[in-house]
Structures are given as structure tokens and as C-alpha cells.
Symmetry: D2
Subunit: 434 residues, 4 copies
């Protein structure tokens, strides 16, 4: 998603579990609480600055997700609702043109006012109104918008983590966002290729339960037989690519990728830093630490992912291949469990025929451009104003990362970023023709 | 193609008609002659300058296409060949990294030396050697490379036309490249949508006869039922979009498209100029002329094509849909017939069930990102060094234009350009879901 | 000064009043206290962000001025001093290359850490050490450096005001930095030209008392007879220039000035905003307010000042002319009196032969390029490392502004900025040939 | 001059020698002939391209200088004159806003039309009319404008040389503009400093004979005693600066200079190229040749000149100092003598008390910003429209170069360029305080 995806309930979404009023109220409270938990370790100063256009301040995320509920739910379904502040609609709109003018994205870091405490009070104000509203019997449109708002907030929770990681990475003190967890370190498993049988297969979301509209409609697609790596590429393997001159020669790069490498002076993934002794260090959410060679490589662009695959004599999977492989698996993995962590190697897996870590740890770049599925039509109205407007120039990633809240992704979930984006937990998994 | 495509004979290409020695020799002479015919109306000054990075000087095209035969054919198959000049390999290499360093693309317009007459002498030198070589009994690899070189030269013939059109458009005198032809003017036919039945259908080139490698391998694809417009969008129709505020509101645009419109101040297709009386004028290869409302709109970017389609309540076709529709038709249309012309309305067609002008007049943007077909693997060696390296960030166009030499395109032919490119004869045809 | 000037005691400076130990200690305490007073109305968030490269965060100013005393005084003269934090030398060095590497200027706004409270603790730590040191009998070099440090801090006090004004101006809420004062409003006096007799006259500082080295050596200069306006140009007068198409035609502009107007879309001084009713509003340190027509125009670049003067049929004075006129006057005016204010018209003056407001309210652009005086030589060592390195590409301003601490400027004081700088309280006064 | 200076006869200019009708006619023919001589070695292609914004094509220079006579002389004084072509006023105006719109400077290299032969015919057409006019008895205003036009053309003759040198330098073939002359090579003389007595001295042009208006009015200035180097800095000496890390350390650089060095990657004067064996080569008007260590260093910016002087423990002279030294000398030296040459060491000089090469070989940067002299007022009308508009942001150079036509410069002549300009024959001479 280009810092956030446009989302709306799939038109054919039937009532899902969350539409049960009590469950929805409970889920609202839980999701909203996580945002504040993520912000808790940060000072007001930390939550205010913007270190590049793609990054938004934590404070802005906290306010914008709140604005969503105020604008699309409370204004529509709570006639007694009084706005917290008349200027906040302008300040915290992101890109919904139909809702009116908005503050320029690149100047989000200039918003020293309102202060953090006002944004937190804004959250309290809206939460109180929302919880009152959720006690009432609501129409399906309203509960659909609440569900959408919660999925929207989960997307911003991932961005809170990745954006503050970038902010702190720009500080020469290399401060930690959160302390590092204790826990067993696993070596990366051996790299194997698991074969999958192709055919004319259904791809996309069938409408049962919540999904973003870009996941549908479900449609048949011809998927050839293919092989998929048993695990993502590791930091150790990526370091081998670097040592072999990966960033120094154009041979394996896409044309635009090589131009980007030269223009920006890239010589390693974002956040890798070469120590004076030649060893790699890694700026993490826990501060600067020695690079973990077993962890999946992260913070690489599509360009770097594709160059690595070419160098390795393999290729990236298509999004359809990835979905075929993932559909058979439980949506389980290393997700955002209350506090930010880094990708890590999975615990050993005895079944060599099943790829591990398809979900969680790192988003996996595919070689599929982000395009509309057959039959896709943009939704009507402000919420869905621009459902298709990002469907050019971006590439699909699949599977979620260690910064994705649990329960947010599905096998059909399509994330998307421009091919040069690196500040997400983005990695890769190799594929091959059968 | 990003100013030129990388090309090589499809691996499974059997001997085609041109491999008959006499025919190949004759075709060599004819193709090479056309390049000089295209340059003939231009002074040495005209042939030297470069008005933007995408544009190459005519002189450079004349030399680079010659360099191709010298480097890949004569050096390999004519042991007695003596280079015309030792510096020309550096000067006229385009992007073949394996062949050695090369002159920067953006500085091609600085090459006042060698003078035009030296480039023409270089052509004579190489042509003489090539014709001697083509009298001999050549291995299939050699005739394959000659065929490839001729297709390569045809691509540059199209660029000679589009690049000099840009060069002359930058001159306040609005000079004509060639005189306008006499001939009947046809009104545009009515716009109808022709229905096509989908299914699991073969897409791509099957290897019979010459094709570029990006056209294959042939593979099955699920194509839904669809409707395709009977003809391309016209200048009149596009002017309606402009009058309706098409360039003034973000509503119909892709996100990157709207950003481009604002950053570059676009308010009409390239080469459209509003007269003081409010009427549209058009800079053409015949100089500045009143806009022909019946002609297909040309020199629009993918962004403009997609915005128009959205405004019209339709969409762009996928490349597979286009190919399904085109495969049933003869490859005939308004191609480059010895001298440059502009797109124009087709003669009336009595059969309303057949789309017209799929071939020739304007390249038609599709909504398909330029991606590798299943099973595509880059070829080995300098000629095919980078067959896949442009397969990111570009969009597919189909069908050829009035600047494409006849015989160059096929139903499977994939042209590609970045979504903001406008200096080609690029237009659009609407599609709809069935 | 290019955000801050390099300064050191004039080589021939004798002991000045401040070298009396008690007085220096008292002055140290007072100057240091003012910085905290200026920061007091601002939240930690306000003090952290940077809205353009020229602007530094308040927090950075508070730390950098402290770093100066730590680095140049305590490290040199207090052997028992323990650094507050080892990283602060890197973080808060501004551009003293000899002192070691430093944090990039454009990334000062990324320093969410150290937090404001740590910077204030740093100030306390250094102040305690400094006050202990100032109780001792110090060599003249030490007291000279303390005096220099205090003048340096005064320069940063002016920047605290102008930088936070810019920061808050970028907030769509148009917040006030400080409340507006009560007080009588005076109309601007009539514009008269006061004649001054020229001759071969001494220019520059003679070494008695503190001065920055760029003010000397004193030297003779030929100053022709000239006339100087009785007061600065007002907002009302500058608005007339705008209404007359001042920003719409190249006629009166310097060549680089006109290019700047076009490239940046300037159509009024910085901080002027046209209301929907066509009236001018003014973003001030007290928030958005109606433009005061009687106040001196401020926040204009040299380009705008020169264009206005040309439009008015006059010219800007040279810095020598300004100094000749100012030397006869007491250094009194509307300076920074504990809290930030805006420029305003002076109280009526009965003596029509004396220009008013030469000191305070607005810095006055001269038409003199900032060049070394005859005999100027850069000083040796880190403090004076780059005394002359800004003497190219900048223009001299004279007289101080409403944001200049009282006691900081002199008739010989030379401020300097690039000709396109607008975020200082910079205005102009007309001159004419006699 | 910023590629060309604005010029007009000094208001108080009495009739000078050239106003004698026959002499003026003869001078007209001679000056006009030299432009064609300079263009003669160049092909139409060479004369068409523009390799950077500061460079104009030879063809444009040939046309623009002709436009000057057509616009300011023939239109005003020859009622029977018929324009050669109505479009040429737009095409070949440089920056005279009052004369109407004009072709953008950065697109001068797009003018493949009109062809060179048309420009030469334009010259013939105007020359014929001019020579007819010069046979008549003309008013002083007319002869003044002709004289101005000839001085204007001489400025463009220097630019023809420096601009084509840049054009050819961008060609990887390193072609020669003209063959190298035969002749004795002189070693550089020893570097001595010659003392000059200062005082209150007259500076500027007194109005006797032609001068540009920026040279006046003559006025008194206080010039201190000073020393001036006996000759310019040589290539050998400048190479020592490079070897000593001159471009690698900020120590000696102006602040803007060091930023420029880093942003553009400068590590030597323009046109210096390090050979594979470590020796310096020099792209010259005679092609690529070994660097002549005895020749004055040329193609350095003010930044490089000032850094060298600082490194050498000296300084650049002021323009007043230079003028005081030069006023005593004959205006003789190595000027443009019919064909382009490079700077070279002067023949040995027995008189050690006289600086050599003040005139010719290289323009000498001074440390004086280009500012108006006291009493300077811009002239009225199109010719003098912008006499003062370049008096900001540029620095004064003195003395002329090997590309300056003989008879063009005077001791009072003020050339000016931005401090980063390097494509002129610009060098430096050291000065010191006495």
C-alpha cells in the first residue's frame, strides 16, 4: 500500500463475525488500544517529526485513524455527535479528495500543534462517542464502515512501527524504540524448493468475510506448475550477494533498478551499516545491533529483490503462485504481538514439503505489477473514492510482516508499494519454473 | 519499447522466409534504404540535435543501426572486415553493457562530430561489407542476426520519425518535416462496442517466424468475455474530455497520473496548441495545422488514456484482450509508407462487428503492465543481454502506428513505454466488461 | 549572518567593561536567562521541528549556544570540567570544521532525542560550571571567549525568534508564539530625505570595546554626499508597489531577482496573505492579524527591496552611507525586550533632520555586497576558523531588528544574508544621490 | 559579463575616432569579418548545438549580433530597410524585454532552422544595408549605436571561442577547433610582488572615448598600499595546490565554494583531465594536449581562484587595485589575433618592477563584487534597459583574455561572471597587503 491502502468492504461481504454488536465493540476497543500501546514508548517530540515524505508522524497516525471514524461513521450515523475541533478535518484527512482540501503530506512533520495531548484527547472524545454508538443497533452499512475503520487502523499500526523506525534511524544516537525481547535464536533452515501443481485456479477473495476490494473479484487464472522456496532469503545469503559485487555491476538488475542504485548510492539494504571492522550492523527497532545472519533479509526494494533472484539463478514468484501456495496454510506466523520486533528465523519445521513463514516476518515482493483483477470496478463515494488509483507503477507484496497486527492479513491480501520503497519490512522468497 | 527494444530471434525460431539468401539480401537493401529515405528531407543540423533525453538525433540512429550490423554480424562472421573507425563502437553503442563503455545517452546531441557525411560513409562501408557477406552461404546464426538487425533498424525508423517530430516541435518556426499528402478525408465512424468471447486462450507467439523474445512463450491465459470499441478514441472525443475539465480535476486520474499533470502543467495531449481564437491546432510532421477532429487522438500518455477511459465510463483493454481481438484480423493498416504521415480516420467499414484500425495509425495503450510471460527467460550473450531488464515500470502498447514500417508488427507484438511517455504516436481504444 | 556569524573579539580589543569579573558573571546569567525566557512559551514539539534548511529548532539553538561555552571555554580553562554527554559535541557543533565532524544542518529537525529536558539539563550543567569559573580570576583570553560566547548567544536569540516564527507559520492553525502587547499605535511619519555630507571618512570599528572581526579594521573610505530617507519603507507603501504590478513585471528587478520571483511564485513579502476580501493579512509572532500599514515592511529579500527602490525612483544605501548616518545617533530603538514583537511605526519625531528607526524594528538591506574590509585577515584557530568564508554571495544589512537583543548591535555592525533570504525581520530604507 | 554585457555609450562620450564616417565603415567591415573568420572552421552541425545553458551556438551568435544592428540601427535610421525575415526578431533577441518576447535561452540549441546558410544570408543582407547607411552622414546617436554594436559583437566573438570550446570538449573525440600555432615556448617568469602606492585615487572611466556604462562614472576611491604579483598563477603552481589536497579539504574555501566543489565533484580546473599515467592533460582549442605548466591557469571559478590565493597565503586583488596597476601600462598582450589560441607564458621581461600579462591571456578574478559605482544610474530605453540588473551575485574580472578581440578592453573595463563560472579563460593573479 502506498503508505496506506484505500479500503472498503467487499460489495458482496455478508455479515461477518465482527458484525455481532458485542464482538465489534470489543474489537473496536482492542484495536484502538493497540495504537496507544505502540505510541507509549515515544515522547511527544518523537511523535511529531517526519524524516521523509513517505513517513508520517506517530501523532498524525493517531489522529488520522480517529478522523476516519469521526468522518465516515459518527458524522453519518450519530446525529448528536459534536466535532472535537473544526480544524481537524483539514489537518488529518489523508487523500480523500471528495472530503475536501487537506494538509500537504510532506508537511505533516510541521504540525507541532495540535500537541500530542490534544490528539490523545481527540481519540478519547471519538472513542467515547463510538462506544456509545456501538451499544446501539446499527445498520449493516455502519458496522461495515466500523470494520473498515478497524482494518484501516491496523494498516496505520504497521506504519507507526515502520515510520518511527525510520525516524529513529535518522538520529545519530541510534536510539531504540523498544527493548529487545529475550528468546531462543533459531538458525535458518536449509533452502529447498517445494513443487506446486498449477492449472486453471481461482485467485482472489470470494467475498466471505471482510476483504479489501482490491482482493476481488475471485476469478480463474492459469497458473503453471512452479517451485517455491521453503523459506525467505536470509541476511546471510543477501550478504553473499553483496560480497559478490551485487551492487557494483549492472548485470542482474532491472534497468530502473540499476539507475536507482547509482542515483542513490545504494550498497546494501536500508538500515545495514558496515562497521569499522567490516562486519555488518543493523539498525533495528531495538537500536543498532549486529546483523542476524539467520533472519530473513528485510528493507529491500523490489529492485534489490529482483536482482538477488537473478543473481541466484531463480526468479520472484507471481502473486498468483504465492496465493496458491499460501491458501493451503493457516494464517499464522510472527506478527505484531503488542510490541514491535524484528524478523527472525522460524523454529525448525519437520515437514520439508511445506514452505514456512509465508505469513509474518517480512512482506514478500512478487514480480506482479499491482493491477486490477478482471471485473474490478472502483467503489462509489468518498470511502472508496480512489480504489483503483494506485493501480499503476506499484508491485504486489504478500503475506504480512512482523509489524502487521495479527488477524489483519489473508492469503488473498494484496499489499503494494513502488519498486524503490525500502522502509517497510519487505523481503523476498525465491521461485522457479517447474 | 524504451526508445528501442532489446530483441533477438525467438529460441525456437525455425528458418523463416527471409533466411532464403536472396530474399534476405533484398530485404537488407530495402530496409537500409528506407532509413536514408527518412533522413533525406533533413539538414545535417536537423539530424544532430537532441531536444530531450528520450530523443536521439537522426544521425545517431543512422549510425547506431549500422553499428549493430558491424558489431554483431561483421565482427562475428566476416574475418576480413576492417572497422570503419575505431571510435564508433564507443559512440554508437546504445546500452549493451557487455560490449563495453558507451557515450552517455543524454549527450547524444553533443556529437557534432563525426559529421553527417562521415556517418553516411560509415553506412556505405558497412552496407558494402554486408552485401558481400550476404552473397555467401551463411550459418543460421548469422542470418538470424541479420534478421534481428533489420527488425532493430525498423524500430529505429519509427524513432527517426517520432524523434524528429519532437525536434522540430521545439522550433518556434514550426517547420514541416515532410509535405502533407493529398487524399480523401474520412469522418470517424460511429463508436460501437464489439463483443468477444473469452475462455482459456493461447496468448503470445508460437515461434513460427520471427518474433522478439518478449512475445513468447505462447501460453494459456484466462480471458473473460469482453467488449472492444470499434475504433480508437478520436481527437474530437478527447477534446470533449478537455472541455469537461478533464485536466482540471483529479477525479478520473491514476494517482501518479494526477501528480504528473500537476508537476508538468499538462492540459492537452503533446503537440496540441490552443489558438488565440480558442481552436485547437496540432503540430504535425507537416507543420502546424488545424486539429483533425476525426483522426485518432495521439501523443497521449497512459495516464491520459486511462483518465479518458474512466471519464467515459469504460476502461482500457488488457493486452490479452487486444491480442484476442487482433488475432482474427489481417495485419493491415496505415503504416509508414516511405514517408511520414499522421494518424487519420479509417475509410468507412461496412462490417460493424469488426473493430477497425487495430493495426497502424496509433499504438494503443493497454492496462497491462509490461511483465514477463510465464516461462520467459532472458537470452544469453550481448545481443540478448538485457531482454528482461525493462520489465518493470512500463506499460504495454499494441498494434503499431503510422510511423511503424509495414511488416514490422504482429498480433503478438508487445511495445512498451513508461506511463508518462507521450512522444510516440500513442492513442487508445476503449474496452468494457461483458 | 548566514543563520549565525562567526565571531571573535577584534584582535586589538582592550579590556572592555564586561571583563570586570562581576559584571561578566552578571551578564552571563542575564544573557543565558533570556534564551530560556524565549523558549518558555513553546512545547517540546514546537522546539523540535525544522521547516526549512535555514531554520534550526529552538532546542538546537539552546544546545548549540551551550556547546559553545563547553567547547571553547570550559574545555580550555576548566581542567576539572566533565562533559555532560559525549555525543553532544557531534550533535550540536554548527560548522566548525576544526572541531570535528558534525550532524548535517538539514537534519537538525530529526533530533527528537535528546529530549528537551536533557537539553535544559545540559544548560544547567554548563551554566553551573561557567558560573563557578567566572568566580575565578580568568585570563583575558578566557573573558574574551566568554564575551564572544554571549554575543554568539544573542545572535541565536534572534534566530530563536525568527525560526520559530517560520515554524509556526507552516502550521495551518496559524498559532501565536506570544500574545500581542497592548500599546499605542503610531501612524508612520512623512517620508523625507535627509542630506548627509560625504568626504573621506572612517568606516568600521576602531577596536574600542567588543566587535566582530568583520567590522574592522577601521579604514578611510570615499563617501559621496547622499540623502537618506527619514524612516523605513512601510507596509502601506510596499502594498502600493504590489498593486502597481511590482511582482508581475520584470522592469524594476535585478536579473537574479526576477528569476527568483518566477521560480518561487513570489507575489508579496513572506508572511503576507491575501484574505478572501482582498485585504492583506500578516502572519506574526502573535498569530494571523490584519496587516499594519504603518509598520515598516519586513520579511522582504534584497531582491524585493531593490525592486521597490527602483520602482520608487530611488536606490538602496551603501553600507558606508548607512554607517555615516547612524554613527551620529544613539543605539536605541525597538529591540527584543524580553518577549518577541513585530516591527511598528516609531513615535512621532519633531526633528525632521534626523532619520528615525535606524536601529531596531527591521534590518535594513544595503546595496553593498558583504566583502572584507581593506586589511581584513581571517583569525587563526577554531573559533575564528572561517571568519571570511561567507564573504561571497551575500549582502550587508544594518541596524538590528525587533528580534535583536538590546546591546547587541553597533553603528559598525554588519549583518549579512543571501539576497533571496526573507525569514529575518528584513526591510529597507531608501537613499538617493545628492 | 553574464554571457554578454549590456552596453551603451557612456552618456558623456564625445565623438571618438570611430565616429569619423570612413573609419567607422572600415571598422564595421573588419569587426563583422572577424566573426565569420571565427566560424569558418566549423561545420553547420558544430554551429548548432548547445551543451549547457551558458553556451550559445555559434550560429546564434552570428545571428544575434546581426539582429542588434537590424533592430537598433536599421530600424531607427534607415526608413527604407526591409527585414530579412519577420521571425528573426523573436529568435535572436537575447534578453531585451522591451523589444518583445524572445526564444528561451536554454533552447537556443534547438534551432536547427533557420539553417546556417540562412543566417549567413541574413548577415549579408544586414551588412549591405549597414554599409549603405554608413556611407551617409549619420547623427551622433546613430554612430554611437554602431560603435556600441561593434563592441557588442566583439563580446560575442569572445563567446564564440569559449562556447565552441565547451561544445567540442563534450565530444569524446576531443576534436580541435583550430590547429595549434607554431612558436617559441617561454618558461613562466619568477613570481615577484610589485608594490604600489595607494591614496585617494580616481577609479573608472572618465568619458573620453567609448566605454560601457558600468565603467563610470569616474570617482575617487581610497586604495591602500598593496602588492601585486608580477604574473598570473601558472598551471604548475595550480597543480601543486591540487597535489596538496586543495580540492579535498574545506580549509581554504569560501563556504559557497566548498559546497560547489562537493556538489559538482570538482577536482581540477575545467578541461583538465588526468591521464592514466597520472599526468595532466588539457582540452584546448587545439584538441587534447599535455598541460603546459608555464601557461597561466585558466578556466577556474572565483571559488577556485580564492581558495588558491588563501592556500598560497595571499589574496585576490580588488578591482580598484588592479585598475591602479594597469592604468600605467599599455593595453597590449596576447589577445585574439584572428584565430583562437590558448593562454601562454609571456616572453621574458627585464623590468622586474612591472607586472606582465595584465592584459590578455586570462581574465583575472578580483575579490570585488560587481556593484554600481557611486552615481551610476541605469540608462533609459531598450538598449540600456537593464544596465544595472546584473549588479548582484557576480564578481568582477579584469584585463581580457586570449579570446578577447584586440582593442576591446581598457584599464577600466569591468567583466563580470557568477563565482562558479568556469568556461571563460578565467585565471588569477595574487595580491598582498603592503
Amino acid at each position: 500500500m502506498s503508505t496506506e491502502t484505500l479500503a472498503r468492504p467487499h460489495p458482496s461481504t455478508p455479515a461477518d463475525a465482527a458484525s455481532d454488536a458485542g464482538a465489534l465493540r470489543q474489537r473496536y476497543a482492542a484495536v484502538r488500544a493497540l495504537s496507544r500501546t505502540l505510541a507509549a514508548p515515544l515522547s511527544a517530540e518523537d511523535q511529531t517529526v517526519q524524516t521523509m515524505p513517505d513517513v508520517s508522524p506517530t501523532k498524525w497516525h493517531l489522529a488520522h485513524t480517529t478522523w476516519f471514524f469521526e468522518t465516515f461513521v459518527l458524522h453519518a450515523f450519530d446525529s448528536g455527535y459534536a466535532d472535537y475541533h473544526p480544524d481537524f478535518n483539514y489537518l488529518f484527512n489523508s487523500y480523500y479528495e471528495a472530503v475536501g482540501p487537506r494538509h500537504p503530506r510532506v508537511e505533516r512533520g510541521f504540525l507541532t500543534r495540535p500537541p500530542l495531548e490534544a490528539v490523545l484527547a481527540y481519540r478519547d472524545h471519538v472513542d467515547a462517542a463510538m462506544l456509545r454508538l456501538l451499544d446501539r443497533d446499527l445498520p449493516a452499512e455502519a458496522t461495515g464502515l466500523v470494520t473498515l475503520g478497524l482494518n484501516h487502523e491496523q494498516q496505520h499500526q504497521e506504519l507507526i512501527v515502520t515510520d518511527i523506525k525510520h525516524v529513529l534511524s535518522c538520529n545519530p544516537l541510534s536510539p531504540a524504540y523498544v527493548p529487545a525481547p529475550e528468546g531462543a535464536h533459531h538458525p535458518a533452515g536449509p533452502l529447498r524448493f517445494v513443487g506446486f501443481a498449477g492449472g486453471v485456479l481461482p485467485i482472489g477473495h470470494d467475498g466471505a468475510g471482510f476483504a479489501f476490494d482490491n482482493e476481488g473479484p475471485v476469478h480463474d487464472s492459469v497458473v503453471p506448475d512452479f517451485g517455491l522456496a521453503s523459506r525467505p532469503v536470509t541476511n546471510r545469503e543477501f550478504a553473499d550477494f553483496i560480497e559478490d559485487g551485487g551492487y557494483a555491476r549492472p548485470l542482474h538488475w532491472l534497468s530502473d533498478g540499476w539507475a536507482t542504485v547509482q542515483a542513490r548510492g545504494w550498497n546494501a539494504p536500508l538500515y545495514w551499516r558496515r562497521g569499522e571492522d567490516g562486519h555488518w550492523w543493523h539498525f533495528t527497532v531495538h537500536g543498532l545491533r549486529p546483523l542476524d545472519p539467520d533472519a530473513p533479509v528485510s528493507h529491500v526494494s523490489l529492485y534489490e529483490a529482483a536482482a538477488y533472484a537473478e543473481w541466484a539463478g531463480k526468479r520472484l514468484p507471481t502473486e498468483e503462485e504465492w496465493e496458491v501456495a499460501a491458501r493451503r496454510q493457516p494464517v499464522a506466523g510472527h506478527f505484531l504481538d503488542g510490541t514491535a520486533e524484528e524478523p527472525r528465523a522460524a523454529a525448525p519445521n519437520t515437514d520439508s514439503d511445506v514452505p514456512v513463514q509465508l505469513f509474518g516476518d517480512v512482506w514478500e515482493w512478487t514480480r506482479s505489477a499491482y493491477s486490477p483483477y478482471p471485473g474490478f470496478r472502483p467503489a462509489v463515494g468518498a470511502v472508496g473514492e480512489y480504489n483503483g488509483k494506485f493501480m499503476c507503477g506499484q508491485m504486489v507484496l504478500r503475506g504480512g510482516s512482523c509489524a502487521t497486527p495479527p488477524g489483519h492479513v489473508r492469503p488473498t491480501y494484496r499489499n503494494f508499494f513502488p519498486p524503490d520503497a525500502r522502509w517497510q519490512f519487505s523481503g523476498l522468497r525465491l521461485a522457479e519454473d517447474s
